[in-house]
Symmetry: C2
Subunit: 276 residues, 2 copies
């Protein structure tokens, strides 16, 4: 890496070096790094410089500081959140993204878990109000939950439903009812979502998100706004997700062939998902 003309500051070089040591196993996952004093001595710099280098690794999610204990290397690998439409998979109905991730988490030997923080009526945030086409004073049903892999929080998800929808699908008020798979009771109530949009942003976490997701102010989160519409174009659900950026890969897949070929009856296509 002959960085001509771009002399990197010491803290950046040290961060890169430590990152390499993590990659090659010199600093194994789940184990604390040498203390900042020790590293300062090794590299012949002040502790402040080491602290700044570690700050970069914390921001990128490579390490996590445990107060009074040390700075340990992160263990969780990236999880894939698959939002492949059924056109691209030939399955009947794609599972909601969270559920797809659940099976991946299980596959990693971890236990996916969902905590419900709140299920009840509320006045939604402005974004939701706008999408649902309601007024500021209108109330909606909210289902707020947090997902975990073992004990590590992986995601916050808040779903909002207009009250007319809830009236036709009272199961939504049950804590056990939807569980992320709210599309099943909705479809059973004749409210099948058929069109979806999803906006993805990346931003710094709020204080609440830092607390709930165990993040630092310098780490970033994916923020998605997922909207499900009925055949008639009415919004059924607005779901906002907040996910630590270093934990996830968002996978989208779609298929524009449907209007070009006759419906495959019975026999399925050999269109398998591409290898990764």
């Amino acid at each position: 890496m002959t960085t001509i003309g771009t002399p990197q500051p010491q803290y950046a070089q040290i961060a890169e070096l430590v990152r390499a040591r993590i990659a090659d196993g010199t600093y194994p996952r789940g184990v604390p790094l040498p203390s900042e004093d020790r590293l300062a001595e090794e590299f012949g710099v002040s502790r402040v410089t080491i602290n700044r280098a570690i700050g970069l690794l914390r921001a990128s999610g490579d390490v996590k500081v445990r107060r009074g204990v040390g700075t340990v290397v992160r263990t969780l690998p990236r999880i894939t959140r698959d939002v492949t439409t059924r056109h691209a998979t030939d399955s009947r109905q794609p599972p909601p993204p969270s559920r797809a991730a659940d099976s991946e988490i299980s596959g990693m030997g971890l236990r996916p878990r969902t905590d419900y923080r709140e299920v009840g009526e509320t006045t939604p945030p402005p974004v939701v109000t706008r999408i649902l086409g309601i007024t500021e004073a209108d109330r909606v049903l909210v289902r707020r939950r947090v997902h975990y892999a073992d004990e590590d929080p992986t995601e916050m998800a808040d779903s909002y439903y207009p009250l007319p929808v809830v009236e036709r699908c009272p199961d939504l008020r049950d804590v056990d009812g939807g569980c992320g798979g709210a599309y099943v009771p909705l479809a059973a109530a004749g409210l099948t979502p058929v069109r979806f949009t999803e906006d993805v942003d990346v931003r710094v976490p709020t204080e609440e998100e830092q607390r709930v997701l165990d993040l630092e102010p310098t780490q970033v989160v994916f923020h998605t706004v997922h909207v499900a519409y009925t055949f008639d174009g009415d919004p059924l659900e607005v779901c906002m997700h907040v996910m630590p950026g270093h934990l996830w890969t968002l996978r989208y897949g779609w298929d524009d062939r449907a209007e070009e070929v006759p419906e495959p009856t019975g026999g399925s296509h050999h269109a398998h998902h591409p290898a990764r």
Copy 2:
């Protein structure tokens, strides 16, 4: 701001305060903030503390430092990159994401521009090799470009095409040919892409990306890997995008209604997502 039980450090509080002043117009866009010395005096802290606070604002893209001049408030608002499938729009063919963004940039009164950095044969990175199902030694056509809004870089995009594809569509070798809209010549050559996948990550930029996209080490980028497949499931193109995270909103939209018609009954959803 009654942050009970969570005393924020001074630099975080100052960052929040400055962010609020940007939002309310006290510090207008495009104008330098007061110097760090001045801010240190105003808040009664050392310059290092101010520097750290500003560091947070730089990481989130709220301000941008110009050497020797000062720290100016960012002017560019977020751009939406719309990847809505035609099922959701009923248009004949969705424009490629970059083109959709171009019109939005124009709408903001800015001039979209594309620089071609490289068009030619190369040995692709491992990710591309794997997706294309070729060997490490195989060569492909690469089209590397950088997009701008006026003079601000907004995106790096590298497209890779297998040589057999290029043989059937020689226009791809022309610098003017594809211009992000490579699907047109491909379709003309009988290579219509019909299925797509896109993986979205967020990560810190490489040194090259920092240089090209005018980013700092603490800012994050969206990294997407976009793959286009033919009807037969053969990969036509792998396109990797790198976008400053603070500049973009990625919008996905799709429509699952097409297969809904022949099966209106709410019968059991047996078929599940295919294993990966």
